[in-house]
Amino acid sequence: MVDEGGRVTTLEAPPAMEPELEGEHMLINLGPQHPATHGVLRLVLELDGETVVRCIPHVGYLHCGFEKIGEYRQYNQIIPWTDREDYLNSPGNNVAFALGAERLFGVEITPRCTVLRVIAMELSRIMSHLVWLGTTCIDIGAFTPFLWSFQERERIYTLLEQWIGARLTTTLTRVGGMGADIPDGWMDGLRDFVRTFPKTIAEVDRMVTRNGIWVGRTIGIGAMTGPDAVNAGLSGPLLRASGVAYDVRKDFPYLDYETYDFDVPVGTSGDVYDRFLVRMEELRQSVRILEQAAARLPDGPVNVDDARVILPPKSKATSEMESMIHHFKQVMEGPRPPIGECYVAVESPKGEKGYYFVSDGTPKPVRWRIRPPSYVNLSAIPRMVEGHLLSDVIAINASIDIVMGEIDR
């Protein structure tokens, strides 16, 4: 207050810089058509200012009933559907499906096929991780790694195109073998890729890993502890970033993965940064596996010699009575597995991908269940984002590495 003489008598409290606002929470729809949700994912977010108080995910926009359709198809006819669920990892899905169906049929694949499938799985892991790397960098504001990673991914697609003729939806495997053997000179292309690809990883690593913006946007964001992550059923890099060394390739091996020398990278804090580090290291480990697989690829047949599941060569089918009958029975009726069931899981780039088959002895499965790793991983997103800022939701969502085709099926 100022008296008549102009002297200050009492001190007045300064005006509040930020007036006390009522605690109104805001409801925000993120998606379903938002580029940073990596597909048609809808997150309903309750915000207090910019902080997420609650997150309710909605999925199902891409649901097309793969499992239902599978009940009306023969086993080999389902393989094209597996391309289309996790479409960044088509060869890996094909291999996983074939492994499951072969267990159900009681078929043992050839040594050459085993190694070729390992090559397919690791190439597809690199492909999927590269898409993840590029899109995550874009989400967090870095553009260049996207270009670099998509260039490398293009080289893998070229390799796949030379191998099977398709790029995205490969339909690489058949029950009991592969759709095609690798063409002459293909291994040179693979060795060339294996030799030069680590250079790209090193470049991205130098550019991103210790970048101040990147570190600031990712460290301490969306952390899950190890026990929490196991309890929530997380798998893949997400689980390993939380410090749990669960990798299906090591713990429940398939395709002779126990004979390859590779490490399982493990994080400590389970935040977005650790997930990034784990995936970067997995790229390097996949290269190591590819090197070993390329060195040990044996000669020999790709398909099993089993007329129940593998079509006879065309020349025999048109000249020999028995081959013609086998051909006819397989095409018209389809191979019949014995009554039974099996669950076969592989380590897909997203996590534990399982196929559960139930057969009643007919050529079509009674139940074909996909255990989608992205689906279970995404279900934990409310716990990861709560308490973080709205902009962190984008980073966390990107770090889960979801593919909506696999979640909605």
Partner: protein, 230 residues
């Protein structure tokens, strides 16, 4: 920062199991857990079998939660990882519907399949294992969505892949036709009328100030005294 959770043996190459080979169709080594369930839960245990090297344990539906809690907590078992929850309906409609749990013990590297059979004509209901594995949340919701199996005790059991107003039934049941129940044009009309983006679940309605943005029909339901929230 938390200390890494060490899974015993996972870093030790000598203890790495080998790729399964030459698995018999039926028979083979039974998972030792099956015997322990049999001795501890004689009431709940129905039968156990080995198919393609995997152990199936059939349980009475009402006691699944007790058995799963034992499997999760017991130091001898430590089934800490729930891989999958799903259901199977056979083409023979007289056969009971089966609910299937795939459990993994990461420390012991074991895999176990639990099954509960729900005969046709009985209420399709099993206890939810959400209180033990939080990962069961969406898996059980999907199973409910696709098969109509009610998981007792699940906090938020509603449709997940189909939209909440979906009326045609449960798509993965064998009596559900592959093409859906109605003509293509009728299905399209219903799907467009559903407008899932403009709808909010009852849980979301508890979020403040969303009321004015709600569809008219939902506002009327709320004004009529319908309770929101879980």
């Amino acid at each position: 920062m938390t200390a890494p959770l060490v899974v015993p043996g996972s870093a030790d190459p000598a203890s790495t199991p080998a790729t399964l080979r030459a698995i018999p169709h039926r028979g083979g080594a039974l998972n030792p857990t099956a015997d322990r369930i049999k001795s501890q839960f004689a009431e709940a245990f129905v039968r156990a079998e080995v198919i393609w090297g995997e152990t199936n344990v059939y349980l009475r539906p009402e006691s699944v939660l007790d058995v799963v809690r034992y499997l999760h907590d017991d130091a001898q078992e430590r089934y800490d990882y729930l891989s999958d929850v799903t259901a199977v309906e056979y083409r023979d409609l007289e056969l009971p519907l089966q609910v299937v749990w795939h459990l993994r013990s990461l420390p012991f590297r074991r895999f176990l399949r639990l099954k509960a059979e729900l005969p046709k004509g009985t209420p399709l209901s099993v206890p939810s294992v959400f209180s033990i594995y939080s990962g069961a949340d969406w898996l059980e919701r999907e199973c409910y969505d696709m098969f109509g199996i009610v998981f007792e005790g699940h906090p938020d059991l509603r449709r997940i892949l189909m939209w909440e107003q979906y009326q045609e039934g449960y798509p993965l049941r064998k009596d559900f036709p592959l093409r859906g129940r109605f003509s293509r044009s009728e299905q399209l009309r219903q799907a467009l009328a559903a407008q899932p983006e403009s709808r909010y679940s009852m849980t979301e309605l508890t979020i403040a100030d969303a009321f004015e943005d709600l569809p008219l029909e939902m506002r009327q339901r709320l004004a009529g005294g319908e309770k929101t929230g879980e």
